[in-house]
Amino acid sequence: MSIDINTGERTATVAARALTKRYGARIALDRISFALYPGEVVAIIGPNGAGKTTLLSILAGALEPTEGEVARAGDKRFGWVPQEPALYSKLSVAENLRLFARLERLADPEQAVARMLGQTGLEDRAGEEVGRLSGGNQQRVNIALGLLSEPPALLLDEPSASLDPRQRERLWEFISALAGHGTTVVFSTHNVAEAERYATRVLVLGDGELLFAGTPAELERAVSEPDAAAGAVRDQLVGDLETAFVRFLHERGH
């Protein structure tokens, strides 16, 4: 039975049901279900090996689930920004954009290249070989490639990992603007504070299981609930979401 992406009054950009991914005996994702809507900024957080990259890869269509299904609104592919910049370092910024615009079969590749150069502020670097750019600029080209076809959703795997604070700030401004125009943005991160600050919704993964889905405020409430194991230490943790999050995972055996 296929999933209905029309839930109530809203139409989801993407809906997943009972997504499972196994690598041999290891379970990377275990029966995960959720729906994401236009304009949402969704953070997927969890420790290493929780299944964040696997989940994003399946949503991007780069990986097939072992079981379960994903339904997407419309025919368009989602934008995909892998953790490591997926670029040809011997090609220039413009050549990378032009190549993928052609592979995406866009009606006007040159116009798309110009638009993305303008949107990411890389016009003056258009002719430069990507291999000579800084990590931050490479990440901008990486994101530009994900947005070439004006996708309904942009999937970013730990997008701020290699950026300095200023580049990070510019990235989040850019992402907020995208969401403001109705693009669904999904990103994975280790940085709980970043999720709290920029996400409108948080999915918490642990060992392939979906442990939590809700707003950052709901997550904060969930991790601050009374617990016999926490004792007097809890008072020191209130207001520190990251520490509370670690305890939250610990209490659930992750």
């Binding site: 890869s57 780069a62 997926a86 011997k90 993928f100």
Partner: protein, 450 residues
Amino acid sequence: MRWLFVKDLQILKRSPLLVGLLIVYPIVIALMIGFALSSPPGKPKVALLNEVPTGHGQLSFGNQKINVAKYASQLYQSIDAINVNSRAEAISKVQSGQAAAALIIPADIVSQINSLVTQGAGNPTVDLILNTKDPLERQFADQAISSRVAQVEQAVSKQVLRVAVTDLQETLNGGTLKFLGQTVPLLGLKNSRAIVQGTIASLPKNSPLLPALRQVVNFATLAIDGLGFATPVLSSIGSPLTVNTINLAGKTTPTDSYAASIAVIVSLMFVGVLLAAALLALERSEHTYSRLVRGLISPSGLLSEKIALSASAAAAVTLVMSALVSLFVHLEWARFPLWVVTLALGGLAFAALGVAIGGVAREVSVAALLAFLISLPVAFVALVPGDAVSGTLRSVLDAVAFVFPFKAALQAVSNAFSGAAPGIGWPLVHLAVLTLVFGALARLAMRRFA
């Protein structure tokens, strides 16, 4: 796929060092192999059938004698002889590959040589049966036997010359001749002329005998001058022995064009394997694989692009190389379409091997190193002469050579260049099958990419 092709060409264009190495390195290696091929390895295995009865291996010229058995023992120093008892057994040894060649010395060889040098009639012939499967083995066996046959010929010629020159000197200068136990004096031409000249001097000037005697002197002078030239002329006595070469499987690739084939295939292998391995590994090391295969191109399409590009580059480089080689080595230009077909199919098979290697490497440098480590032994295994190793090891080497494209490509290109045996059909089918097999292995390896 067109745009990926363009992209890869752009990347290659911006890597002049890599491209230069890819072209220059294999050509240098190929030339070195070509030079190495001109030096034969150890003794070839030769099935030897000596039908000359024991004790009948001696040639006699005048009072000179040649023991042919002495030269037969020298032949044993040049070859690894397998003594056989019949012509059929000799042929069977060659056909089964146990011997690179067979040499058959007929029973009447000694009397035929004697007849030739004493009466000018006779056709002393030895049969040399060669295994045509491997032109190198054929060349080495041929060379080893031919040099020994030449020694026998030289020895016979020398003795004939010695006898003839002695007789000539005696005819010119006089001497003694032993006949029926008696020593008979020989006057000689010079002495005869001196006697006649003395007689002329003692005769009156109007003697009617003078014209006739002067004719005798003139003749003696001409004969002395003529026979004086005979000694160097006799030194040029040719080859009393005829070597009748029999090829069991038709026309053989000439050694020089076989060496050219090896040089071309080594280049085809290096360019095809290295380029394909590096181009596929590049997609992984640049993290672009995941981006490409999520709907932009299928993994099989990506593999096909890498194989096609690498095979085209390898075929183009080696086609130019073949044209240049043909300036120095005879290659049949009439078969040019077959050159193109074989180099294209060979290029595809090597490129498929390359993507299979690139499929297991995460980095371009690792892929290139792996490609080298695998390619070189593959080439050497295919070039090991069958006689150089024992039966079991040979079977193992044959099996290894069979599952890689080098040997099939070499056979196909040798045939394309010279029309020599074996035929071109099976090697081409073999290459096509290997392309599919290595392509499938590469596709399997790419499952680890995501």
